[in-house]
């Protein structure tokens, strides 16, 4: 699907970043082509979430560049990137617990879509959210919360979607349901960068995968090949 001559939608070049004086990423190069589903895998503490933080503007890299559709966006604030079409669903339920479901959806409208459209699309995908539209989001079940978080991706037509540990702490059946949504988004041609610790679900959707270890991308390749090496990588045998 990916065309090597096209401009990558998202490109990270030599990114070094971290928290305070401690570097977590030691030179990360990553490239998501238009229409590609890129799975970034790796164990706890490898720097996957930090990579997404850099790509979404939350963390300023100490060195390297972030390119969005060929334009350098270093130092652009996360809210501007979000309005420009970068959609990051953060780890651990990206919702506002003290706002109602409807108000959570309303927050998606900053991406430039109407409130009506957001509601229509979200409720069409997840009818359960419609039943609970006036309920505080914090009182939803874990799966419902993740659906609510996902509905921002579904309703705002983002340029690129980044998903951080979508499956964390959820029942397998719900994970399956969520990944069906991801797959249909991918089919529609959306570029997606998925970060996961456990690979089973994601490798079925991805068409490019990478293993991240100790703040570096160790290996990139087709998902099937990466899957084989994953265990070894996690056990530190790579």
């Amino acid at each position: 699907m990916s065309d090597e001559t096209a401009t990558p939608l998202l490109e990270l070049l030599g990114i070094r970043a971290g928290y305070g004086t401690i570097d977590v990423l030691h030179g990360v190069d990553l490239r998501v082509m238009p229409g590609q589903v890129y799975a970034l895998l790796g164990p706890n503490g490898a720097g996957k979430t930090t990579t997404l933080g850099v790509a979404s503007g939350q963390i300023q890299p100490h060195a390297g560049s972030v390119l969005l559709d060929g334009h350098e966006v270093n130092g652009v604030s996360p809210d501007r990137l979000a309005r420009a079409g970068v959609c990051l669903i953060p780890e651990g339920r990206g919702i506002f617990p003290n706002l109602s479901v409807a108000e959570n959806l309303r927050m998606s409208t900053y991406a430039g879509v109407s409130y009506k459209q957001v509601q229509e699309r979200a409720f069409a995908q997840f009818p359960r959210l419609q039943e609970r539209r006036n309920q505080m989001a914090g009182t939803l079940s874990g799966g419902e919360q993740q659906m609510l978080a996902m509905s921002r991706a579904l309703s705002t037509d983002p340029a690129i979607l980044m998903l951080d540990e979508l499956s964390m702490g959820l029942a397998p059946i719900i994970v399956e349901e969520l990944y069906e949504q991801v797959a249909s988004l991918a089919e529609a041609g959306l570029s997606i960068l998925i970060v996961e610790q456990f690979a089973q679900a994601v490798l079925g959707v991805a068409n490019e995968a990478a293993i991240m270890l100790h703040g570096r991308i160790q290996r990139t390749g087709p998902p099937a090949e990466i899957a084989e090496e994953l265990t070894a990588a996690y056990l530190g045998m790579s």
Partner: protein, 732 residues
């Protein structure tokens, strides 16, 4: 809500009504109840309630949208009111123009400045810092108003349309001003409710406090949103201040004290519910005006009707369900391991302090400020007064610093100690009673701890504030508690070991000895098994409970210890002054000043109290400068520092949350020969300043000269070989 809770609420309400009825029956003033008097009281009550509603809505808006409870809300109102006075009364501007300039230009600007300069940085600060900074802001603004406009000059502000009568509603008349106030408050509350819940920006305002990062990921501009919240809060404060100014005695502390009523109203709505906060404010207004009209509490309780608000705040805070109290976050800043002073270091420190005190009082160490004769002069009164405050401040160290229990009522405990001492020792000044005073004060602390046991954070702070205000308005003004005498001393000079401490120098040394003993006792306590319990509880109540620490019992003990220390300190506080005035000495602002100064100095360090002595040092310096003449501007600056200092110091905690003494200690300790750990820490910090990894240099970009030197160092190439100025300089 379970049935059990409801029943308890019902029982409490019934008991409260019964008590209120009994009080009402016994204190009935006998004013004839006519439709006119009743309606008059109702109109005034509703007006006052509407004004407090404006303050309360400002509080609620800022709290729901930024998570910061703004203690300075009232102070913003005071500032607005004085600025309005300046424009309208002093410069003769048209009232509408002045109102517009203050409320719609100045106030939003002030709010945005507050947010950008200070409040935004509080977002991730621990709760104690959050509280201290906003309280510091309040004290700072109040003292700033006092500096710009002399607070003692009597002033007044005209009511709006004061010459055009009013509306005749029934037999009584509602003035236009009051009508406007009432309508404005209701309209403002309705608009804000609409803004917060029905618009996207309002949703974003509430979203930002829930999860700021996520709000940004959604595309909302978090900084703009919180600035907007502060601008609105500040506008409401200023508007309330201007409108209330003509209803009350126009002076800073009086106008600020009413904010506690707004706190009570806001607490009524659990700090988040706008309609409930407005209803609470209106009820409070009615309650206050009607009690003032119909009841007469007698001269001994002349301020009791003002005490209703603090009492209600106390009750509401204690009764509220405690689900969502977390303000401020558990900050996972990579805290340095805290090192505790051990017993012999404490001994050295205390000895050194005592030595300084002796030299200072003997005139050998006078900082070029005092000559020994100055001990006879009035400048040194302030040194002794500050020393007494330092003793009171010491009582806060275990409570706030170690157990993390915010307490704004140190003066209530101290005053109680003074009262006990007055009853025990009478006018003999017998110092041997002081330990007994400490023992008697302990149960009072334990009593306060019982409601405190289930409170945390902000609500605990509000409760202690309500307690302090309630004591100041109801307990201390009673003739029997602290009798008012015309001239002379009410508290005789302390007599101890056969010495009467009636000269300033001796008294200073006595208090310093007590201070040093207190500090050393606390150092030992902190190193003990029991002292560690307090800090464990501060770290995490849940974790403390799981390792088997009885949390409630531990809290009660720490309150008792603190109250008993404060009580004993109160004896010195009272005897330094000679007299206590219920009106001034127990003013809320005075209590805040102590807490702020201790917090700014470093509330977890017992020695921090000594910081308070620096205030009179400044005063002394300015007296001395006045003598030399020709340095008027310096004197002016120093005087301003003394006035504005406490607030500024507390605001400074935004940048240095652990306190001045802590930072001083960090700078100082590496000098001490036995502190190799401090030196190692500094060395480790320097090493951490990101030395690049050799393997990665040059791969992504060319070497910089500094990096070449770093490689040389790492490879062990001798310093002589490496050019001092670096390769880069040599090359160019």
């Amino acid at each position: 809500m379970t049935f059990g809770l409801r029943r308890s609420v019902v029982v409490t309400a019934v008991v409260a009504v019964a008590i209120a009825t009994v009080i009402a029956v016994f204190t009935w003033a006998g004013t004839p109840v006519t439709a006119k008097t009743f309606l008059n009281a109702t109109y005034i009550g509703l007006t006052l309630g509407a004004l407090w509603a404006m303050y309360a809505t400002g509080l609620v808006v800022v709290y729901t949208t930024t998570g910061v409870f703004n203690f300075a809300q009232g102070a913003i109102g005071v500032f607005g009111a004085f600025f309005y006075w300046e424009l309208q009364m002093n410069r003769g501007w048209h009232p509408i123009l002045a109102l517009f300039v203050v409320v719609f230009l100045f106030a939003p600007l002030l709010g945005i400045c507050l947010d950008v300069l200070v409040m935004r940085r509080l977002r991730t600060a621990p709760l104690v810092v959050q509280l201290m900074v906003t309280v510091g802001m309040m004290v700072f603004l109040i003292s700033l108003v006092g500096t710009i406009w002399n607070a003692n000059t009597p002033r007044w502000v005209n009511a709006f349309f004061k010459d055009s009568g009013g509306i005749d509603l029934g037999p009584a008349q509602l003035t236009w001003h009051r009508f406007i106030v009432f309508v404005t408050a209701v309209v403002v509350a309705v608009i804000l409710r609409f803004l917060l819940y029905k618009t996207r920006i309002g949703t974003a305002m509430r979203a930002v406090v829930d999860n700021r990062e996520l709000a940004a990921l959604n595309g909302a501009r978090p900084n703009m949103v919180s600035s907007l919240a502060w601008a609105i809060g500040s506008m409401l404060g200023a508007l309330g201040g201007i409108l209330i100014a003509s209803e009350l005695e126009f002076n800073p502390s009086n106008l600020n004290d009413i904010v506690i009523i707004a706190f009570a109203a806001a607490a009524f709505g659990a700090l988040r519910n706008l309609p409930l906060a407005v209803v609470g404010a209106l009820l409070l207004g009615l309650l206050r005006q009607h009690t003032e009209t119909w009841l007469n509490f007698g001269t001994n309780f002349s301020k009791a009707h003002l005490g209703i608000a603090p009492l209600l705040l106390f009750a509401v805070v204690v009764a509220l369900p405690q689900a969502r109290l977390e303000v401020g976050r558990v900050v996972s800043n990579l805290r340095r391991r805290e090192r505790y002073t051990n017993w012999w270091e404490g001994l050295i420190g205390c000895g050194a302090l005592m030595l300084c005190a002796v030299m200072f009082s003997g005139g050998w160490l006078n900082f070029g400020i005092w000559d020994p004769e100055a001990w006879g002069g009035p400048a040194l009164n302030s040194a002794n007064a500050a020393m007494a405050l330092a003793l009171i401040g010491l009582s806060l160290v275990p409570l706030i610093g170690w157990a993390g229990q915010v307490n704004f009522a140190p003066l209530a405990f101290a005053g109680f100690g003074a009262f006990v001492y007055l009853k025990l020792a009478g006018d003999t000044g017998n110092g041997y009673w002081i330990p007994l005073v400490g023992l008697i004060c302990a149960p009072l602390g334990a009593l306060v701890a019982l409601p405190a046991a289930r409170l945390r954070g902000l609500y605990l702070a509000l409760m202690s504030m309500a307690f302090a205000q309630g004591m100041a308005l109801i307990f201390f003004p009673h003739e029997w508690v602290i009798p008012r005498i015309g001239v002379g001393r009410q508290f005789s000079h302390i007599e101890l070991f056969g010495i009467t401490f009636d000269d300033r120098r001796g008294y200073f040394l006595l208090m310093m000895s007590v201070f040093v003993i207190g500090v050393y006792g606390l150092v030992l306590l902190r190193n003990s098994r029991y002292g560690r319990r307090w800090m464990a509880m501060h770290g995490s109540q849940a974790a403390a409970a799981t390792v088997g620490i009885p949390v409630v019992q531990t809290k009660v003990v720490v309150y008792a210890v603190s109250a008993s220390l404060a009580g004993m300190a109160g004896v010195f506080w009272a005897t330094v002054a000679g007299n206590l005035s219920a009106g001034q000495d127990f003013d809320l602002l005075n209590g805040f000043q102590i807490v702020l100064l201790i917090a700014a100095a470093g509330v977890s360090i017992p020695m921090a109290g000594i910081f308070l002595v620096f205030t009179p040092l400044f005063t002394g310096l300015s007296h001395r400068l006045e003598d030399t003449g020709n340095v008027g501007f310096l004197v002016e600056i120093l005087d301003q520092l003394v006035v504005l200092g406490p607030g500024l110091l507390a605001i400074g905690m935004v940048f240095n949350p652990r306190g001045a003494i802590f930072e001083m200690g960090r700078g100082f300790s590496p000098i001490l020969p036995w502190r190799s750990d401090a030196r190692a820490e500094i060395a480790a910090e320097n090493a951490q300043k990101r030395e690049p990894e050799i393997g990665e240099l040059g791969l992504e970009r060319p070497f910089t000269p500094e990096e070449v030197i770093a490689i040389d160092r790492r490879l062990g190439i001798l310093d002589e070989v490496v050019p001092k100025e670096g390769y880069g300089a040599a090359r160019s």
